[in-house]
């Protein structure tokens, strides 16, 4: 797209962008300008990088899955809804098989049709290594987020079947993470690198301009299949702006209308200056995952694990963050239907924490010594250094002698993918990493099932609990929503009571915006719906 910078001088769109970015310039009829925290424009192929922020902005607005998140309500946890599949059903005779009935009349932005062939072509993109369209990075992400696609086939032009390796009731919840791109556009462009310059999905917005490292412009898709969700905005311009002070200055000077993750220190001044601080309440834990595999791990005793959860001054931490987080006492929030009724009600109770430590053989003369791996920054990590320093001081009063292994984000990811006893863990007794939001049981199963113990899966703590495994097994085999909810509650109760993690805070997904931004509903999810947003 941009073969030489001198040639680019003549590109007429430059003037448009310059006008859009000029300080205090008038908004041209419904253009929303957003500063993301991403360091680059997320991949525009339908398999966005830059973590789930990439999915939020260059995923759902442009590309869609068979199943989508229902993001219209701020009052309840986001659930799934039909997307490119108008309905689905699990084969009653063989519960490993799911049949998806595809929506008719859906067109990609290039005008080609979405049908079973397009769906299978996309599944090949992610799962078939010798397919022409196989996308190695996109495939790696899809296979990790949805490791349960064993086989798939076309039944007819608008029906496909996907087979799981075992019965899996929560399989539809994992499908919003797999997005569908246009096969016709790929054929036209010839590669994913070229496709990224002229992308084509089925979503409510289409990408009309892409400037690597600078911006991407999404325009309203007038032909969107869901007429009720045709965007109100004319355009949405997204800028990668990883530096918080730069985002703040861009908002304050009128260069953008909306910034993701304002610095907590800036919240009072932003409010005073008339900006809106919008936060959401949803389960997205910022924990310490406790290393239970290490030979001399102090966490092997459940009383020590519970003690740390009682000793955490979560409210103090929330104050430090100016309210941009909320206390976490489990993987779900107490108000969520899935929370259940755990026996342990973690609150700031140092007396109880100290008593538990005493029972476990620790005390003022023999503190619990633990080294926690923390990162200097990273996706979803909020402000790891001051937050952890606060906790270090807080826990010292209770009888924990915490030291840190401060590493760069990449180093932490390497440690995460290896066993907690591997050299990559650098002898750490815990890891502070915010994993993707867990709004349903499918994510919790991935984090806590013993079969997923690292390095095989995401259970870095190497926590093993037979009852939890059995409950998840029951959930996977069940088809009864009431039974699934009851077992989800039980699974969550076990997680809270057994405390394989120190549950610290939930990220509140904060954003700051001008009062000109109207109609935004902060869904109880990491993802958000931009179709209802309008500019005054």
């Amino acid at each position: 797209m941009h073969s030489s910078w001198t040639r680019r001088a003549s590109v007429p769109v430059a003037a448009t962008l310059a006008l859009g970015l000029a300080p205090g310039s008038a908004l041209a009829g419904g253009t929303l300008r957003i500063a993301m925290t991403a360091s680059d424009v997320p991949t525009t192929t339908g398999a966005p990088d830059n973590g789930y922020e990439g999915v939020r902005f260059l995923g759902y607005p442009v590309f869609e899955g068979l199943v989508l998140w229902d993001l219209k309500s701020a009052d309840k946890l986001a659930d799934i809804r039909p997307g490119l599949a108008e309905r689905w059903e699990q084969d009653a005779a063989d519960k490993t098989k799911w049949v998806f009935y595809l929506r008719k009349g859906v067109k990609f932005h290039d005008g080609s049709e979405f049908n079973a062939d397009a769906a299978i072509w996309n599944l090949d993109r992610y799962y078939k290594k010798d397919a022409k369209q196989f996308d190695p990075p996109g495939g790696a992400v899809a296979q990790a987020r949805n490791p349960f696609v064993a086989a798939y086939r076309k039944i007819d032009d608008y029906t496909i079947e996907i087979t799981n390796p075992r019965p899996l009731s929560y399989f539809p919840n994992m499908l919003p993470y797999m997005l569908y791109s246009s096969p016709a556009q790929f054929e036209k462009t010839g590669s994913w690198a070229e496709f990224a310059k002229a992308p084509s999905g089925t979503g409510p917005f289409k990408i009309t301009e892409f400037k690597p490292r600078v911006s991407v412009t999404l325009s309203r898709n007038e032909d969107y299949w869901d007429k009720a969700k045709v965007p109100k905005l004319d355009k949405m311009v997204l800028f990668p702006m990883p530096e918080p002070t730069t985002r703040l200055a861009a908002l304050r000077s009128g260069q953008v209308d909306w910034i993701e993750v304002p610095p907590p220190d800036a919240v009072p001044s932003l409010k005073n200056a008339g900006f809106e601080i919008v936060t959401g309440s949803y389960p997205h834990v910022w924990p310490w995952m406790l290393n239970l595999a290490k030979e001399d791990s102090p966490w092997k005793d459940v009383r020590v694990r519970r003690a740390i959860n009682y000793c955490l001054n979560r409210d103090g931490l929330v104050t430090l963050l100016n309210g941009l987080a909320e206390p976490s006492v489990g993987a779900f929030k107490p108000g969520d239907a899935q929370f259940g009724k755990p026996k342990e009600h973690y609150g700031y109770d140092p007396t109880k924490g100290k008593a538990l430590l005493k029972e476990a053989g620790f005390g003022p003369d023999k503190p619990v010594k633990a080294k926690v791996m923390i990162s200097t920054s990273g996706s979803g990590q909020m402000l790891p250094l001051p937050m952890n320093e606060f906790l270090q001081q807080n826990l010292k009063e209770c009888g924990f002698d915490i030291s840190f292994e401060v590493v760069e984000w990449g180093t932490m990811l390497v440690a995460l993918r290896n066993a907690p006893t591997a050299p990559q863990a650098l002898g750490s007794d815990a890891m502070n990493i915010s994993l993707p939001p867990s709004t349903d049981i499918s994510q919790l199963a991935l984090y806590f099932l013993s079969t997923n113990a690292a390095p095989k899966g995401r259970n870095w703590a190497n926590w093993k609990n037979e009852e939890f495994d059995k409950v998840i097994d029951r959930i996977e085999k069940s088809s009864d929503p009431a039974e699934i909810l009851k077992d989800t509650q039980r699974a969550h109760e076990i997680i809270v009571d057994e405390a394989p993690w120190a549950f610290i805070v939930h990220d509140r997904n904060p954003r700051a915006m001008t009062k000109k931004v109207k109609g935004f509903v902060s869904a109880q999810s990491w993802f958000q719906d931009f179709t209802s947003v309008d500019m005054e």
Partner: protein, 313 residues
């Protein structure tokens, strides 16, 4: 003169080879690789390893290096592991963006530096000398990213006169609106060269003014302007060497200033490539920047030799 230039060019070959080896080795010393950053935390090791094989990251380092060098020799910069885009496209686009900043920053910094340094020396011991010297010291001492943030706070946030961030145009600026985007980063970037050059010029001019030939020039009845010309001509070679180095630094792009102003230049690209462990982008960027640095220094050497025949020996 040609032999001198050719010799300098030949010296550049081992320098660039050394730089490329060093970069390759250093980036592999850092924990993790591009796959660790490219795929999200939830991707297990097994899948990450299969991707690693696809990128040939499982091969011996020297094998990877030789393959990369072989491609570079035929002008193939490769493809970014991270974005899949051609490295040449990313690199030369970013270098162009940096050049747009570096050129005006160099001109501003050098002119101000020479003027302030010469004026300070000519007014040695007066309040003007103190003022200009203090300005130079401030330029060198203040962290320029901090100056950038302060300038943004004043001129973008409080006064709302200039944009806080971003390039706002592509290629070359063609309007006042485009130029507005340049003002703050250019001023920020020019501070260090201004301060460094000013200090050097002041010291050199002072030293030259104390030499006997300057007294002779005055005794022969030359006007002060003519004496100044001779003084500056004598001070030029060392100032030129420093300007060459400073311009090289500016072309490398200041990671900090580009981060503060969200400028899509070579410093930002390098920073991104380091964090992403994007070996093709990082290696190519550093080698090309090193080549530019070497060429600038050769040009400076040649210019110095032209100005001062003693240098050719």
């Amino acid at each position: 003169m040609w032999a001198f230039t050719l010799r300098r060019l030949l010296y550049a070959v081992p320098v660039l080879l050394g730089v490329s080896m060093l970069v390759f080795a250093l980036i592999h010393l850092a924990p993790g690789d591009v796959v660790d950053i490219l795929v999200p935390p939830e991707v297990p090791k097994e899948i990450a390893d299969s991707l690693r094989q696809r990128f040939h990251l499982d091969e011996q380092l020297y094998v990877q290096y030789v393959a990369w060098l072989g491609r570079l020799m035929v002008g193939d910069f490769g493809v970014s592991f991270f974005t899949g885009r051609p490295v040449a496209e990313e690199l030369f686009g970013a270098l162009g963006n940096t050049l747009v900043l570096a050129l005006p920053a160099a001109v501003l910094g050098f002119l101000l530096g020479i003027a302030l340094g010469a004026l300070a020396a000519y007014n040695h011991g007066t309040w003007l000398d103190k003022l200009f010297s203090a300005t130079a010291i401030i330029g060198v001492s203040l962290p320029h990213y901090w100056v950038g943030i302060v300038l943004v706070a004043i001129f973008a946030v409080v006064l709302n006169l200039l944009p806080a961030q971003g390039m706002g145009f592509e290629g070359l600026p063609t309007s006042w609106e485009h130029v507005q985007h340049l003002v703050l980063p250019v001023v920020t970037l020019s501070l260090i060269p201004m301060g460094v050059i000013s200090r050097l010029v002041r010291a050199n001019v002072l030293e030259i003014l104390s030499q006997e030939f300057v007294g002779t020039l005055h005794a022969k009845g030359l006007f002060s302007r003519r004496v100044l010309y001779h003084t500056l001509k004598n001070a030029a070679p060392s100032a030129l060497a420093l300007m060459g180095l400073q311009f090289g630094y500016l072309l490398g792009g200041s990671i900090l200033v580009e981060t503060v102003f969200n400028w899509p230049g070579s410093g930002g690209l390098m920073n991104l490539a380091i964090f992403r462990r994007d070996v093709p982008v990082l290696s190519a960027t550093i080698v090309v920047l090193a080549a530019i640095f070497v060429v600038i220094n050769i040009l400076v050497d040649v210019l110095q030799a032209l100005l001062d025949p003693r240098m050719r020996r």
